[in-house]
């Protein structure tokens, strides 16, 4: 993508660029925003709002190349519909958290859905499907990294760095993503299982060549989704047993998990996201838990002291995020001192004046 001549640069680029330059000269913090579907996530958004939605549209999509390139303001729903027409999908199944969620926010938040911990082909988060991007850095300079090909090791892998950086390293202008064919067959099974039984089974199945593409445990019930070739799904259905969930109900269930519209996520009680090794023991914390990703992602509704939650997750080898919380001061796990230094220096490379999304990823910048 870096060398591809942009025949006509849309005026939306000039607009974003001017906004960043003027913010840079006035040292004015900017709050980058698409539809605002992820306003709740990370530190409290601060600064003058820079709406990215005018910079929208799919720039390139060739199904046989498995690559889609689109502008940041493009609605995720539009991208997914376009891919579906050609039997393809974003394998990382990004949560939208709103009808108008944009590609820019999807990449900046770095959040991935139930299929993230899939066995085999579909494994991976947003970052794993990032092939390239064009950004506006904090000086209003346009930079291109990566490209539109599957394999590319020229220079440092800066495009993957943008996934999950919460817009603190640049305004993401365009993104090239690897896309994949939709599975030929899909089925969802339901089992009764205690938390420990669910963790044991999921870790055992993860080590077998089974087409498990999603899992969710809550309150004594384990749901497992199988996706792949028809023959693979059929033989897994025979091997695993359990109760087959009807297709409509299964679709609705997984959307509920992805979009957090499932009953577990209702209400205002603090929601923690604990990312930890799938084999970690059950977290001994008060409150209710919801397990995804084969055990590697655990949602917790709990009023326990934040430090108690963080310490328990750290001991289990992971990190906790205050995902939905009234207190936005420090949503993410604090960094180790060496990491802190590297983060500050990298931030200074791409946004030396500290004007892009201050406080959203780190309380100090």
């Amino acid at each position: 993508m870096s060398r591809r001549p942009q025949a006509v640069e849309p005026s939306s680029v000039a607009h974003l660029r001017e906004a960043v330059r003027s913010a840079a000269s006035g040292r004015t913090p900017l709050r980058l925003r698409g539809s605002g579907s992820k306003d709740f996530y990370g530190g409290m958004p601060l600064g003058e709002q820079l709406d990215t939605r005018a910079h929208s549209g799919v720039i390139g999509y060739d199904p046989t190349e498995l690559v889609l390139t689109a502008r940041c303001g493009t609605r995720l729903a539009e991208i997914e519909a376009l891919l579906a027409e050609r039997g393809q999908m974003l394998a990382f199944e990004p949560p939208h958290f709103g009808p108008d969620a944009t590609l820019g926010g999807c990449v900046a938040s770095g959040l991935s859905g139930p299929r993230r911990a899939s066995n085999g082909l579909y494994f991976g988060a947003v970052r794993d499907h990032m092939l390239g991007c064009r950004i506006l850095d904090g000086n209003g300079q346009i930079l291109s990294f990566g490209g539109e090909v599957m394999k590319n090791v020229a220079g440092y892998d800066v495009s993957r760095l943008m996934a999950g950086a919460m817009g603190t390293l640049g305004v993401i202008l365009e993104v090239s993503l690897k896309v994949l064919p939709r599975p030929a067959a899909e089925a969802t099974l339901r089992f009764s299982a205690t938390e420990q039984e669910a963790l044991d089974r999921l870790n055992e199945w993860g080590g077998k060549p089974l087409p498990v593409s999603a899992s969710a445990w809550r309150d004594g019930v384990l749901h497992v989704r199988l996706e792949g070739a028809a023959a693979a799904v059929e033989s897994a259905l025979r091997a695993l047993g359990g109760e087959l969930v009807n297709e409509m109900a299964a679709r609705a269930f997984w959307i509920g998990v992805r979009e957090q519209t499932d009953a577990f996520f209702a209400g205002d009680r603090m929601l923690w996201r604990a990312s930890l090794p799938s084999v970690a023991q059950r977290l001994e914390l008060p409150g209710e838990q919801f397990i995804e990703w084969g055990g590697a992602l655990r949602w917790l509704r709990s009023d326990a002291e934040p430090e108690r939650v963080r310490a328990a997750v750290r001991r289990a080898g992971g990190h906790a995020t205050a995902f939905r919380s009234a207190d936005r001061a420090r949503p993410f796990e604090p960094l180790e001192p060496v990491q802190e230094v590297l983060h500050r220096r990298l931030k200074a490379v791409f946004d030396p004046l500290g004007i892009l999304n201050p406080g959203r990823l780190h309380p100090d910048w």
Binding site: T64, R116, N119, V149, M150, V153, G155, A163, L180
Partner: protein
């Protein structure tokens, strides 16, 4: 030059601390199988040989991961995990010799990475030391970590950001079975289009490789893989999974390949035949080494639909430079490995080869691709970096390097050219006056 062969982590830390205090360059090195000079020693520095860090520390079957030291060979991980029905997926052709440390440095791929990913998709955590000798960890054994994705940044960074002493890599379940189709085509472009047709049919083969006629001829003499020597190009398309699944997918792929103009299809009848079909592909480089005193391997990646154009261009370059160039191609992901045959003892041939290669890589960039898919920039392709990137991006890379290594001591001079070097190469790209302080006299 000093060569250090540390055996313990405190030794690695001490070496780095001493070198940092004395401002001496340090070049980490694994098995030295790299193809871009990424581990080339510095004449005025310390070569940090990691060969003694060769232990597999743990294979955790339940967590499906291996904790390994960087000097462990790629294939040794899969061998150790095999009794558990697991393996480490990235399989560069040099996997019997190359080490995981080098794989991390170059973000190595292999013939199965279309389906199973590159090194970056299969590593959870790196532990190592900064240039100052401070311990540092990127990633974790969870699926993500707080802050920036420094793990992704470190992988493929050619040993320039930190020194790795341990990695946690993912192990994945070994498929029940695998079979491979060998499809013959009487025209290279038809074979290229067949690849697009397979993908368009919604199939992601476990492996999808192409070799042209000169390459199959070189290989056949060496390993007797049973390739069709009359074909202008052959494709190897692998399916893996349960036996029913493989049966179904092989059937679908055969139908697509026939419809796309394959002149002959052969399906491996058993595991030894499958291994033999692959052995030919994996031995392509040594096989070519037998038919030519020297060869030079390229590593460009292109959007697959531009394959015909690139192959025609390579044919023109063969005439222009008077050198032959067989092609092996990771067709599924667009990664080309043309091999220029030459004789370094013949004055001028090396220089012609290098010019040939430079033109091909620049053509890859021109069609929307990259100068390196999996071998890295190292020192070899450093001039072509000036073609692929503008000065603003090169400057950003340089600053990323400085964020980790302010005095530029770790593997200096690799991967990212100075703007000065680009100017000398005649490829200083300044887009729209975007060079910082564009009016300052320089160089």
């Amino acid at each position: 030059m000093v060569v250090a062969l540390p055996e313990t982590e405190p030794q690695v830390a001490s070496i780095l601390k001493v070198c940092h205090a004395m401002q001496v360059p340090v070049v980490p090195r694994g098995a030295g199988t790299g193809l871009s000079g990424g581990a080339l020693p510095s004449g005025h520095g310390v070569l940090l040989g990691m060969a003694k860090f060769n232990r597999i520390l743990a294979i955790d079957a339940r967590a499906r991961l291996a904790r390994v030291q960087p000097g462990v060979r790629n294939a040794a991980i899969s061998e150790a995990a095999a009794p558990l029905g697991l393996y480490y997926a990235p399989d560069p052709s040099s996997q019997i010799a190359c080490t995981i440390g080098g794989n991390l440095a170059e973000n190595s791929g292999g013939v199965h990475c279309l389906k199973y990913g590159l090194t970056v998709h299969n590593v959870l955590r790196l532990r190592g030391y900064t240039v100052e000798g401070e311990p540092v960890q990127f990633g974790s054994e969870a699926l993500d970590s707080p802050g920036f994705d420094l793990l992704a940044l470190a992988i493929g960074s050619e040993g320039m950001l930190a020194v790795t002493v341990e990695a946690s890599v993912r192990l994945v379940p070994k498929p029940h079975t695998a079979r491979v189709i060998m499809a013959s085509f009487d025209d290279v472009e038809t074979a290229g289009n067949a690849v697009a047709d397979v993908i368009a049919a919604g199939i992601i083969p476990a492996g999808l490789e192409m070799m042209d006629k000169p390459a199959t001829h070189a290989v056949e003499e060496f390993v007797h893989a049973g390739y069709d020597l009359d074909a202008a190009a052959i494709l190897l398309c692998e399916s893996d999974g349960t036996s029913e699944e493989v049966e179904e997918e092989i059937g679908r792929m055969k139908a697509v390949l026939s419809a796309s103009g394959a002149t002959q299809l052969r399906v491996s009848g058993n595991e030894s035949e499958r291994v033999r079909f692959w052995a030919g592909r994996k031995a392509a480089f040594p096989a070519v080494g037998r038919i030519s005193p020297d060869y030079y391997c390229m590593d460009g990646t292109i959007p697959r639909k531009r394959l015909g154009e690139i192959l025609r261009f390579i044919a023109e370059m063969e005439l222009k430079y008077g050198l032959r160039c067989p092609n092996v191609f990771h067709a599924g992901d667009g990664n080309l490995h043309p091999l220029i045959l030459f004789d370094a003892n013949d004055p001028g041939q090396l220089q012609r080869t290098e010019s040939f290669a430079a033109e091909v890589l620049e053509k890859c960039v021109a069609v929307g691709g990259t100068i390196t898919g999996e071998h890295g920039v190292g020192i070899e392709k450093i001039n072509q970096m000036c073609v692929q990137f503008g000065s603003a991006e090169l400057e950003a890379f340089m600053q990323v390097k400085r964020a980790f290594d302010p005095s530029m001591l770790l593997n200096p001079g690799k991967n990212v050219p100075t703007l000065h070097r680009c100017a000398e190469y005649g490829r200083m790209h300044v887009r729209g006056g975007q060079l910082p302080f564009a009016d300052l006299p320089r160089f």
